[in-house]
C-alpha cells in the first residue's frame, strides 16, 4: 500500500528539470548567439511549465503558482520582451534555486511556505512590471515581411512576437521555400529544420503552394539570421531563399524597444572572434527509481548466472572435468560483481552538481549582503550516490548561507582587522576510507562562543556555574531553536537551520563537527558513511556468523600455537600485541578459546601518534572477496559494524576496523579493571 511511491518518478523528474534549468541558465551567463539564447529560453520555459504541472499533480498549489511566475518570465524572454542580461539571469538562478530548495522541503513532508520566491520577490515583480507592454503599445512588425497576407495570417501569436522581436533587434528574416519528395519529406524537413535551428532561429514552418511543374510537398521556413547559406539539396528536391525584410530599412520609431526596462541592457555581444556555437540540447535522461535499479540488478545477476552455468558447466560436464566447476563458479562470482559495480555506478552523481547550485547562491548573497567573497570549490569530481547528495543539498545550502551571513565580516570590518577585503569560503568534498567528508571553511569572525554561552544559559541548555568547553558550546548551536541572532535576518538566523542540518546528517548515519578560531574563521565538517561501496574483505566466522574485515586495515593473519583468549598478548613479527576476540568487541558471547587472529591496524592516526595494532581473535578465517557493502540506517547502527551485504545464507556484516580497534581497547581496559 504505497502512499507516495508512485510519485517517486515525478520527484526524480523534477530534480532532473531543476538540474537542466541550472545548467541552461549557466550557459546564458556566457555570450551566446541569439538563436542559442532563444533555444535556451525556450527550454527553460518548457522546464518551468512542466514543473508547474507536476507540482499541481502532487497537490502543491503554492509551488505550482511560483513555477508559473518563473514560466511567465521565461515566456516574456522568449517573446522578446525581456532580454538576457547578467542581472536577469542571476534573478532567475536565485528563483530556480529557491524553488529547488522548496521542493526538497516538500519532499521531507514540510508544509508549503507562503511564497517560494520570497528571496527574489522584488526583482521578479520589477521584471514583470517592466516587461508588461503599456496599453496600446503592443507592436506587430509581421506586416513588414514580404509575404502574402494569407501566409502572414497563418503565423501564431508567438511567431508574430518573435518576428517583431527579431526585427527590432536588427536581425534579417529570410524565407526558405523547399519542395520535398513524398517518400522522404518528413526526414528531410526535420534535417533542414535542425540545420537552420543550429545556424540561427527557425521562427516558423508553414505549408507552401507547390509550383505547378513540381510534385511532392512544399514548405516555407521563416528563419532569422544574418546570411542564409545554401543548404544541400537531394535529387528531386528544390529550394529557394530570399530575404523578407531588411531591418536597416525599418523606421527607428518601430525599432525602439518601448517595452524594455531602462536598466535591461541590450543582449551581450561577444567581442573579437565569435565563440563556437553551443547548441542547446535537452539531455535525454533515462530515469530509473532506486527500486527499479535493485530489480534490474537482481534480474541481471540471475540472467548472467543462468547463462554462464548453462553454457560453461555443460561443456565441462561433457569433458568430465570435476575440478573445473569450482574455478568456473569463482569466475562467475567475479563477473557478477562487475555487473553489480557497473549498476552501482549508475546511481552516482558528481559533487559538482551540488556545487553548481552553491555558486550562483553565493554570488547573489555576496551582492545582497555587500560582502565580496572568493569561493573555492574542491572535489567536485567526487562521485556520490544521488540520493545522498539530494538529501545533503538543503543542509549544505543552509550552512553556506550562514557562513556568508554570520561568519564573514563586512569589508570595512575585515580591513580594520588587517584582513583582505574579500572573504574566502572554501568547500571541499573528499573520501576518507569508507566515509565522505564535506568541509566548509570560512575566514570570517568565527563562532562567538561568549554569545553562544549566554544564549545557552538563557534557553536553559546550560546550568548556572557550568564551565562548558568550546566543543560543548559549539554543539549547542546545533540544538533546535538555538540562535544567537536577536532578529531573524532574511538570509538566515531564524534558529531553524542548524538543528535541521544536524538531524539530516545524523539520519544519514553521519556526524557534524564544528571548530572555530576567533577572528580566523570556522570549519564545519560533515562526515557521512558511503551508503554503498564495494569493499575487499577478509571473511571470518565468529559464533556462527560471517563477518567481513576490510583488507585495507588487515596487517596480518596468524595462527597461534596455543589457545588464545582475550586479554593476553601475542607475538607478531617480534612485537607483543594485545589480543581481544571479535566477539568481545561486538558484544557477542566471549569464546572459550580461539586459534587464529587478525592484526588490525589504524592507519593515518592523529599526527605524531603513528599507527597502532591490535590482534583480533576470530573462530575461523574463510577467505577473501569483494562484497557490496550497504550501510546501516541511523536506527540500526551498531557499534563496530560498518554495514552489511546480503548473501545467500544471510547477511555478512562488515566490521568498521577503526571502531573495532576502539572497542577492543575498551574491552581490554575493562579486563584490566576487573582483575
Amino acid at each position: 500500500m504505497p502512499l507516495d511511491q508512485s510519485f517517486d518518478d515525478v520527484w526524480a523528474e523534477c530534480e532532473d528539470l531543476f538540474g537542466q534549468a541550472r545548467q541552461t541558465l549557466a550557459t546564458l551567463k556566457e555570450p551566446q548567439p541569439a538563436h542559442v539564447v532563444q533555444a535556451s529560453v525556450n527550454a527553460l520555459f518548457r522546464a518551468t511549465h512542466t514543473l508547474k504541472g507536476m507540482a499541481g499533480m502532487l497537490g502543491y498549489p503554492v509551488f505550482s503558482k511560483a513555477a508559473h511566475r518563473l514560466e511567465d518570465i521565461f515566456d516574456l524572454m522568449r517573446k522578446g520582451r525581456l532580454r538576457s542580461t547578467d542581472s536577469l539571469i542571476e534573478t532567475l538562478e536565485a528563483g530556480i534555486l529557491a524553488l529547488e530548495s522548496g521542493l526538497d522541503s516538500l519532499r521531507r513532508g514540510r508544509p508549503e511556505p507562503e511564497d517560494y520566491l520570497q528571496p527574489v520577490r522584488r526583482q521578479i515583480g520589477e521584471l514583470e512590471a517592466m516587461a508588461r507592454p503599456a496599453e496600446g503599445q503592443t507592436q506587430d512588425l509581421t506586416t513588414l515581411l514580404d509575404l502574402p497576407l494569407e501566409t502572414l495570417k497563418a503565423l501564431s501569436d508567438y511567431e508574430r512576437l518573435r518576428v517583431t522581436a527579431v526585427l527590432r533587434a536588427g536581425t534579417p528574416i529570410h524565407a526558405l521555400g523547399v519542395c520535398l519528395d513524398y517518400a522522404t519529406f518528413d526526414e528531410r524537413l526535420r534535417a533542414i529544420s535542425e540545420t537552420l535551428a543550429a545556424r540561427g532561429e527557425l521562427i516558423s514552418t508553414l505549408p507552401w503552394d507547390l509550383p505547378p511543374e513540381r510534385e511532392g510537398l512544399a514548405f516555407l521556413l521563416l528563419w532569422a539570421g544574418l546570411t542564409l547559406e545554401p543548404l544541400p539539396v537531394e535529387a528531386g528536391e528544390a529550394m529557394e531563399s530570399r530575404q523578407l525584410v531588411d531591418p536597416a530599412g525599418i523606421p527607428a520609431s518601430l525599432r525602439a524597444p518601448a517595452a524594455l526596462p531602462p536598466e535591461v541592457v541590450p543582449e551581450r555581444l561577444p567581442e573579437g572572434p565569435a565563440p563556437p556555437v553551443v547548441p542547446v540540447h535537452e539531455a535525454e535522461i533515462l530515469r530509473l527509481p532506486a527500486q527499479r535499479v535493485e530489480e534490474l540488478e537482481a534480474r541481471l545477476m540471475t540472467v548472467g548466472q543462468l547463462r554462464d552455468t548453462t553454457s560453461r558447466l555443460l561443456r565441462r560436464v561433457e569433458e568430465a572435468d570435476l575440478e573445473a566447476p569450482r574455478a568456473l563458479l569463482s569466475e562467475m562470482e567475479t563477473g557478477l560483481l562487475d555487473v553489480q559495480k557497473s549498476l552501482l555506478q549508475m546511481r552516482m552523481v558528481k559533487v559538482e552538481s551540488l556545487f553548481s547550485r552553491i555558486e550562483p547562491m553565493v554570488k547573489n548573497l555576496s551582492r545582497d549582503l555587500g560582502k565580496p567573497v572568493r569561493l573555492q570549490l574542491q572535489g567536485g569530481e567526487l562521485e556520490v550516490e544521488r540520493s545522498l547528495l539530494s538529501r545533503l543539498a538543503d543542509p549544505f545550502l543552509h550552512l553556506v548561507r550562514n557562513a556568508l551571513d554570520h561568519g564573514l565580516e563586512l569589508p570595512s570590518e575585515r580591513l580594520a582587522q588587517g584582513k583582505t577585503e574579500t572573504g574566502t569560503l572554501k568547500l571541499s568534498a573528499s573520501q576518507w576510507g569508507r566515509n565522505l567528508r564535506f568541509d566548509l571553511r570560512d575566514d570570517g569572525r568565527g563562532f562567538d562562543l561568549a554569545r553562544i554561552e549566554a544564549r545557552g544559559l538563557e534557553l536553559g541548555l546550560l546550568e548556572d556555574g557550568e564551565r562548558p568547553d568550546p566543543e560543548r558550546l559549539l554543539r549547542l548551536s546545533l540544538e533546535p531553536g538555538f540562535s544567537t541572532q536577536d532578529q531573524a535576518s532574511q538570509i538566515s538566523g531564524r534558529g531553524v537551520g542548524m538543528d535541521v542540518v544536524r538531524s539530516e546528517v545524523e539520519s544519514l548515519g553521519g556526524e557534524i563537527h564544528l571548530s572555530t578560531e576567533p577572528r580566523r574563521g570556522s570549519l564545519i565538517r560533515l562526515t557521512l558513511p558511503l551508503s554503498r561501496a564495494v569493499v575487499n574483505c577478509l571473511k571470518v566466522r565468529c559464533e556462527g556468523q560471517v563477518f567481513g574485515i576490510p583488507l585495507a586495515s588487515v596487517l596480518r593473519v596468524q595462527t597461534g600455537r596455543t589457545p588464545l583468549v582475550g586479554g593476553m598478548r601475542v607475538e607478531v613479527l617480534g612485537e607483543r600485541l594485545p589480543l581481544e576476540s571479535l566477539q568481545a568487541c561486538l558484544g557477542l558471547r566471549d569464546p572459550e578459546a580461539q586459534r587464529t587472529f587478525v592484526v588490525l591496524t589504524q592507519r593515518g592516526g592523529p599526527a605524531g601518534r603513528g599507527s597502532f595494532e591490535v590482534a583480533i581473535g576470530v573462530d575461523q578465517v574463510l577467505g577473501r572477496g569483494d562484497v557490496l557493502l550497504r550501510s546501516l540506517p541511523e536506527l540500526a547502527q551498531t557499534p563496530g559494524i560498518m554495514g552489511g551485504s546480503p548473501q545467500e545464507d544471510g547477511i555478512l556484516w562488515v566490521v568498521d576496523p577503526e571502531a573495532v580497534l576502539g572497542l577492543a581497547m575498551d574491552s581490554l581496559m575493562r579486563r584490566v579493571a576487573s582483575v
Binding site: 504505497p2 527500486q291 535499479v293 540488478e297 550497504r630 536506527l635 540500526a636 547477511i651
Partner: protein
C-alpha cells in the same frame, strides 16, 4: 492498527508504506528497541522490538504486516484495522504515570475501544536514547 497488545493510531503523515513482513536478521550484539533488519527496496530497514519500549510487549503472534515509517523504521503489526479520514474527539491526555507515555500520545474512543495515538517522534527519541546509553 493493533500491535504490542494495544489498539494504536498512526498518522498517515508518518507512514511510507505497508509491506508483507519477512523475518528480521538480528544485528550483531543486538540493539535495544530493534529486533534486527530486513531488506526493503534494497536497503536495510530496522524493525522495532515493541517489547523493549517501556510499557510495551511483544506481539501475540507473527506479524500480519510491517508498517514502514517515513523515518525508515518498520513497525511489526498484529493487524491493520482501518483508515480514518477524520478523528472524532474528545482526546484524553495520557497519565503522567503511564510508562508508555514517551511513545504513546493522547487517546480517543473509537467504537467503544480506547485507541492511543503513536507518538513517532517520541518513539524515535527513545530509540536514539537507548542507543546512546548502550
Amino acid at each position: 492498527m493493533r500491535a504490542a497488545g494495544r489498539d494504536l493510531l498512526l498518522s498517515t503523515r508518518d507512514l511510507r508504506e505497508v509491506v508483507t513482513p519477512s523475518p528480521p536478521t538480528p544485528l550483531p550484539g543486538g540493539l535495544p528497541g530493534i529486533q534486527g533488519v530486513v531488506i526493503h527496496h534494497g536497503e536495510f530497514l530496522p524493525v522495532l522490538a515493541w517489547e523493549d519500549l517501556p510499557g510495551g510487549r511483544c506481539l501475540d503472534g507473527p506479524p500480519e504486516a510491517l508498517a514502514v515509517l517515513r523515518t525508515r523504521l518498520a513497525l511489526p503489526l498484529e493487524r491493520l484495522v482501518r483508515t480514518l479520514d477524520e478523528l472524532p474527539g474528545p482526546w484524553e491526555e495520557p497519565e503522567d504515570a503511564d510508562p508508555a507515555r514517551p511513545w504513546l500520545g493522547a487517546s480517543v474512543q473509537l467504537g467503544g475501544v480506547v485507541v492511543r495515538q503513536l507518538d513517532v517522534e517520541g518513539m524515535l527519541d527513545l530509540l536514539r536514547r537507548f542507543r546512546s546509553e548502550r
